[in-house]
Amino acid sequence: MNNSMRLFSKVVWAEACKQHRNYFNNRAIYISLFVWPVFSFLSAYYSYSAFDIRGTFISYLSDDNILLFLLIGYMAMSFFRSVVQSAWRFSMERQAGTLEYIYLSPANRMAVLLGNALSSVFESSVVMLIFGIMIMYYQRNALNIDVLGLISVMIIFVVMALLWGVFLNACFLYSRDTDFLFTVLEEPMEIFAGVKIPVVIFPYWARVISLIFPLTYILEALREVCLNHADIASVRIILIISIAIIIVLLTVTLVTIRVVEKHMRKSGNVILF
């Protein structure tokens, strides 16, 4: 048991290092990871200027904290979005033939997917995270944080982002039409997960769509604990749903890996759907 844990972590670490060296040696990539999210954050912020903030019925929003409201949304999204991009790049390993060598080795497949997600989640979001924390510090008066709530929400947030990454890695790796997944996941998440518009005000049909994205739930919790001083008890339902999502993501991924391996040994092909 101990030995297999050791092997598992070895593979996770190796995959994360490889991913880092393979993609992040190019400085231009930080433009895509930092400049673009910051620009779309600013665009969203200034597009609010067209409206009268007092018009909204979200009680805890005001002129003072609307910037932080958006910033938290874009920071959280940068974690979830970076994994979409990196999963897409990871799927290139199929064409490059390196995936076949990974499958030739006895390495744990879950460890490979996890290592990859680990590197992309943290490396892709670190610049945006620093930027966000700086702005938050600057605007600290508008914050209304419940520390214990924030810590617990953060832990769940990180686990969820990682598993979302693992899940997407599996989706992209084993799917034929990755471009389609990319189109479906990139922009709708910004709108429907409530990044720039809170989900609570959505019309009914839009709320149904928003339920698909795990980010929707945890982002809501994150805003509540940062801006509305919500404690664990008041966000417990969101947290329970989040944990349920984590379990579902994990199960689906594990099953997919098993099925793919079986399918591949039958058909000689990793493409599942």
């Binding site: 231009a28 433009i31 895509s32 400049v35 673009w36 620009f39 779309s40 600013l42 665009s43 200034y46 597009s47 609010y48 200027s49 067209a50 409206f51 009268d52 903030i53 007092r54 018009g55 909204t56 019925f57 471009d179 389609f180 189109t183 922009e187 709708p188 910004e190 709108i191 720039k196 518009i197 809170p198 005000i201 959505f202 019309p203 839009a206």
Partner: protein
């Protein structure tokens, strides 16, 4: 201007498009403008319950937010499609290895680029029309149409976009990158050129930045021709400004492109 080259370029472009039309990319672009419009719609009707700020009414010169945002995002889609394709022509030739044979032929670049631009414009107008129909469902209304202004706005927009495409093409060919440079430019345009909100909302330095990109005025002109809000003299003034800006881009862009082409060929391996 060489008409033969112009026509040949159009013909070649159409042949390539017919054989392999980038459907997923086109759908992607229409979806992007759909999401932008949807975002504005949710924001306007649900988040802020239709309450516009005073500064918006002052700067946008209209109270019809949805039409304002939809014209902006349609123009944005138009820029993304034309700019992208015209700028990418030369780097595509470089990647496919046809740049060398193209450079061997003694022809004028102007006709080549204009040919590409014309073909792309025709294709994009069709796609923009599809997006406009979607816009109507979200409340797009042409309230004060002025045909004369509309023609001027279209011509000047194309003129300005052509200049911008040239510059972007230079950057792409020089850095040999399309992904980063194009998307960064588009992110900048979306932020500073008054696509979904008046540029006056931005800090002064970003406004200045917006003023030197020949998209800001083009979007304003197009809006004025469809939704009104500008006097004739204001329209004329903005039009002149757009024309001068476009001219600067083209006059600087043409020789620069020639220079960059040589650099690109020298760096070519093998």
């Amino acid at each position: 201007m060489n008409f033969k080259v112009f026509c040949a370029t159009i013909k070649k472009g159409i042949q390539i498009r017919i054989r392999a039309y980038p459907v997923s990319f086109m759908v992607g672009c229409i979806l992007t403008s759909f999401y932008t419009i949807l975002g504005s719609y949710l924001m306007y009707h649900y988040f802020f319950l239709g309450q516009l700020s005073e500064s918006f009414e002052l700067n946008a010169r209209t109270t019809d937010y949805m039409s304002y945002a939809i014209v902006g995002s349609l123009m944005y889609q138009f820029i993304v499609r034309t700019c992208l394709n015209v700028s990418r022509t030369l780097i595509t030739e470089l990647r496919e290895g046809t740049l060398e044979s193209l450079m061997l032929a003694p022809f004028k670049r102007t006709s080549y680029f204009l040919g590409n631009m014309t073909m792309q414009t025709v294709l994009t107008i069709g796609e923009t029309a599809v997006a406009a129909v979607i816009g109507i469902a979200f409340g797009f209304r042409i309230s004060d149409f002025n045909l004369y202004h509309f023609i001027v706005a279209i011509s000047l927009s194309l003129y300005g976009f052509f200049g911008l495409s040239l510059m972007l093409g230079c950057v792409m060919l020089y850095t040999r990158d399309t992904y980063i440079s194009q998307n960064t430019l588009f992110a900048i345009i979306f932020l500073v050129c008054g696509i979904t909100f008046p540029k006056e909302a931005l800090p002064y330095c970003l406004q200045l930045f917006g003023n030197v990109i020949p998209v800001t005025d083009a979007v304003t002109l197009m809006r004025a021709s469809l939704l009104g809000g500008l006097t004739d003299s204001e329209f004329l003034y903005l039009g002149l400004q757009e024309f001068i800006l476009g001219t600067i881009y083209i006059v600087a862009g043409m020789p620069l492109m020639k220079h960059v082409e040589h650099i690109a060929l020298e760096q070519m391996e093998g």
